[in-house]
């Protein structure tokens, strides 16, 4: 009885706690390039059947409906929102933004992502000591398939189709050194976030679909720009207020259920 009320309220507190964590993480990443906001999806729990439908009353009629009591709520999962974030112009030729669908593929250790690959939309690249194009993070994940800038060159440029050119001092035309590969997933919301703005393939996301920038279903590359976080601060703050109030109301329901149990407990002196 009142125990169910306690459980319902407790399930709500725990679910709202998760929702609060998700929202706080979104807000914390408001300036993280390529970050995609998540939301917590709620669903109601099962119902206890206290009286079955179809029971006969004294008049020998069937009860048309049963008596069910719900057991609360839970977070069924968190869902990534892959809406494109706003572009930020940086002027750096190796800052790449994908306009449209697709991810850059980078190499990671096998333990992190299946096949040693992870995917990202945070296209802030740089060149490492061996001339390879790598992510400009502390781990320096190497772009896959690798593109190496070797020898003497004065500038780098990347066109909309992901072709990387270098300008040699003596040459007239820029030299093509490689083309970026893009990856797509049938269900990007099923990807797993592993931190560092990276996502890895899961059973739910489906296998990676490879392609070139500008091909059908793949976006084009904008050099000199990166994609900012797609977190909308207004939405997140409104969510935060709603979650907090819902939390307070459910803690009141714990108090009320406790009062009930206390009244019952005092029956026996």
């Amino acid at each position: 009885m009142a125990i169910i009320a306690l459980q319902s309220a407790a399930s709500a507190l725990s679910a709202l706690n998760t929702a609060m964590d998700v929202t706080s993480n979104n807000l914390a990443n408001i300036n993280t390039a390529g970050f995609k906001s998540s939301r917590a999806n709620f669903q109601d729990l099962l119902y206890i059947e206290q009286q079955q439908p179809g029971i006969r009353n004294t008049n020998n009629d069937q009860r048309p409906t049963g008596l069910y009591v719900g057991l609360g709520t839970k977070v069924s999962g968190t869902q990534l929102d892959f809406k494109e974030g706003p572009p930020v112009a940086s002027g750096n030729p190796l800052d790449l933004m994908i306009q449209g669908n697709g991810f850059f593929r980078v190499g990671v250790q096998d333990a992190l992502g299946p096949g040693g690959f992870a995917y990202t939309r945070a296209g802030q690249f740089t060149v490492n000591s061996e001339g390879n194009i790598v992510l400009a993070t502390d781990t320096g994940r190497k772009l896959d398939p690798p593109i190496q800038l070797t020898g003497d060159y004065s500038s780098v440029s990347v066109d909309a189709n992901g072709q990387v050119f270098v300008q040699r001092p003596a040459a007239q035309d820029p030299e093509l050194v490689g083309t970026l590969t893009m990856t797509n997933f049938i269900n990007p919301t099923g990807l797993k976030s592993v931190g560092e703005n990276l996502y890895v393939e899961t059973g739910a996301s489906g296998p990676p679909i490879e392609g070139k920038p500008g091909e059908q279903a793949f976006g084009t590359i904008q050099s000199g720009m990166y994609e900012n976080s797609n977190v909308d601060p207004t939405t997140e703050l409104v969510n935060l207020i709603r979650i907090q109030r819902a939390f307070e109301m459910n803690s009141n329901s714990i108090r009320a259920a406790d009062q009930t149990l206390q009244a019952i407990a005092q029956l026996h002196r």
Binding site: M1, A2, I4, A5, L6, S8, A9, A12, A15, N41, F42, Q43, D44, L45, L46, Y47, Q50, Q51, P53, T58, R63, P64, T65, G66, L67, Y68, V69, G70, L71, G72, T73, S76, G77, Q79, D81, K83, N184, F185, I186, N187, T189, G203, A204, P207, Q216, A217, D232, I243, A246, M249, N250, S253, A256, A257, Q259, T260, A263, I264, Q266, R269
Partner: protein, 262 residues
Amino acid sequence: MNYGFTMGTAGVIAAMHRQDVASNNLANIQTVGYKPDTSFTIPRQAARQEDGLMNMPSNTLLERLGAGVLLAPNRTSFTQGSLTQTRNPFDLAIQGDGFLTVSGGADTASGGDSLRLTRDGRMTVDTRGHLVTVTDGRDILDETGRPILVNPASDFTVHTNGSITQGGSEIAKLGFIDVPNRDSLKKVGNNMFSLSAAAATSKTVATGNVLQYNVEESGADPIRAMMAVQSAADAVGTTSKIMQIHDDLMNRAINTLGRVSG
């Protein structure tokens, strides 16, 4: 003599049930497409009337009081929840009457149709390319009851009548139905309802509109739910007081009045 005591017990049980239902509503104020339950009670007749024992000796005075309360089935309020805009094309909300149809799989509880109904239109595409619910990955069905295959690379538009177009041509029409007798729907959790066999045969095409880029917020009213939780707690407090008074009366009757002087 114990009449008031049993009536008090019935009152406490009913109030605790009210509290359970209201606190479930309150727990689900963030659940998309949730429809709140309202609990009801009915007066209980005296045992002699309820069980049809007309020859049983009775106390006419007490019998007129009835025998406390019984729990009546909950009813679900299907009033429209408020709509919130989102940025996800796979978020659908229903404005007006109607439900989206979801596959119940092998799970045919209550002997009815294996169809499930929902007002939670948050969807995603699974690895087979099927349109599924985001909460537990069940297939969302078209009007003929088949899963909907979408091309995830193409644009995705849902029209108010439930028709889905990709690249300008219609690929499917959402199963979008209504049931005249909503009391025949049973909540099964996961934001879904199951239909009884009778309801499955009486389903009609829904009259509401499907709105893309929207979700329908929970229909639970937080203020009402909170008041109900608290008033049920108060009711338990006062009713249990009545039980205590009756207990006290019995105590005096047995231990004070009934003592054999000596």
